[in-house]
Amino acid sequence: MIQFDNVTKVYPNQSRPALENVNLSVEKGEFVFLVGSSGAGKSTFLRLVLKEERPTDGRIHVAGRDLARLTNWKVPYLRRRIGCVFQDFRLLPNKNVYQNVAFALEVIGKHRRFIKKVVPEVIDLVGLEGKYDRMPDELSGGEQQRVAMARAFVNRPMILLADEPTGNIDPATSIGIMKVLDRINRTGTTVVMATHDAAIVDSMRKRVIELEYGKVVRDQSRGVYGQAY
C-alpha cells in the first residue's frame, strides 16, 4: 500500500535532511506507529505520502501508483483515498458535526442522498450518536477529534494517516480515540499514526517504526515505544 524506496527529503535552506534513505513498505490493512522525537521526520513522512511535498530523491508508491508520475490534476483523486487526522482537529468552526463530516463529501461532488445515508452511519461509528447538531466549540477535545476521524473515514479511504491525534487529549480520553482507530483498522483500512504517546504504543502492540534524525532506526512488529523516551 505504501512503499518508500531510498527516499530522501531535504527542505530548502536546511543542511540536515528531514528524511534520509528511508526504505520501508506498509501492507494493506496494517496498523503502524511512527515514533521518534520532534523533528525526527514523522510529519515529513506523512506529507510525502499525501504528495504535499516531493522527495528530493527516491521513489514513493501509494496504492501501487508512483507518486512522481502523478500529474497535478490527478493528485486530488489520490487524496480522496487517504483520510487525515491532525493534532489540532481542523474542524470548520461555523459548521456543526453533521455539516463538518458532510463537507468532505460535498466538496468531492457526492449527491445529497448519498451524503444523508452515509454521514450518520460514520458519526455513529465514532460514538457521537445524537450529537449531529453540536457546534465544535460545544464539544470536548476528544469529541472534536472523533468528528475529525468521522470526516477522515466517511469516504472509506484505503489509508488513514494520523499526525499525533492524541496530542491535545488527556490519556483517559485517548484510549477512546484509539479504540475508534482500531475499529477503523479492522474494516481493512491501513492506518499510519505518528505519535509521542508512549502509553498508547505500548498498550496496543502494533508494528512500530522509529525514526531518528530522518533515518529508520527500528522496525518492529508488535513493538513498544522503546528508548525514544
Binding site: 499525501l50 497535478n72 490534476w73 486530488p76 483523486y77 489520490l78 487524496r79 480522496r80 483515498r81 487517504i82 487525515c84 481542523r90 470548520l92 468552526p93 463537507f103 468532505a104 460535498e106 466538496v107 468531492i108 461532488g109 449527491h111 445529497r112 470526516r151 469516504n155
Partner: protein
Amino acid sequence: MRSQFVFSEIWIGLRRNLTMTMALVVVVAISLSLLGTGFLFVKQVDRARSFWQGKVEMSVYFCIKSSPNPVCEQDGPATAADKTELQQRLESMPQVQFAVYRSQQENFASFREEFSNEPSLVKNTPNGSIPDSLEVKLKNPEADYNIVASAVYGAAGVDTVVNEMTILDKFYKLLEGARNAVVIIAVILLVAAILLVANTIRLSAFNRRRETSIMRLVGASNFYIQLPFLLEGTIAGLIGWAIAAVLLVAVKSLWLDTLNQYFSFNIGLSAGDLLEVIFLLMLVGVLLCGATSFLTLRRYLRI
C-alpha cells in the same frame, strides 16, 4: 446536489465580505456606464457622419422674388440662363464632382423633412420662400471649398453660398470632446475596477482559507475549489453591469435625445444601438471580472 453546494458557498462568500462586494459592484457599475456613454457618443458621431456623407458640401441658392438680399432686390430673381451658365461653369471645374439643380419644390420638401423636429418652424415657412439651388459635391471638400466658393460669389443670380459642412463641425467637435473625456475617465475607473476585483478575491480567499485547506486535504478537485471564487467575482460584476445598463438607458433618454432636439435633425440613436452597447458592456464586464478573478486566484489560492 452539487450546484446547490456551489451556490451556497458563493452566497456565504459574498456575505462575508459584503462591504467589499458592494464597493466592487459600485465601481464596476460606474466604470461600465461611463464606458457605455463613451460608446454611445461614438455611435452618435458615426450616425451624424453617415447622415451627411451622401450630402453635398456646398449649396448655391439663387435669388427669388422674396429674397431679402439687397443684391437680389437690385438685380431681380435669377434667370434660367444664369442658372444654366453657372451649372455648366461649375461642372467644368476640376474640383467639382457634380452640380445638380434642385427646384424650389424639392428644396421645400426636404426642408420640411429635415426640420421635422420643429413643427412650429415648418408651419410658419410658406411654400415659395425656399429658393432653388445648385447642390455641388466636391471631390476634396476640405481643400477645395474656398476655391470653388470664390468662383461662385458675385455670379449673376446668386443669393447665398452655404457651406453645409460648418453646421456639423461644431456638433462633431462637441461630441468628440465629450467622448474623449468620458472614455478617459472610464478607462481610469476600469483600472480601479480591476484592482478592486483582485482585492476582493484575495480577501475572499484569505477569509476562506480554512475551508480551502480542508477541501484540498479531502481531495476536492482544483476546479471545484476555485469555482466559488470565480463565480463570486463574475456575479458581482454582472450586478454592476445591470446597474450600468439602467444608467445608460437614463443617459440616452435624458441626455442624448435632448441634445438631438437642439440640432433639429433627426439623427438620434435607436433602441437597437442602445441594446448593442449594453451587450458589448456585458462582454467587457464579464471578461474583466472573470479574467481578473482567475489570475488573482492563481496567485493567492494555494492548490
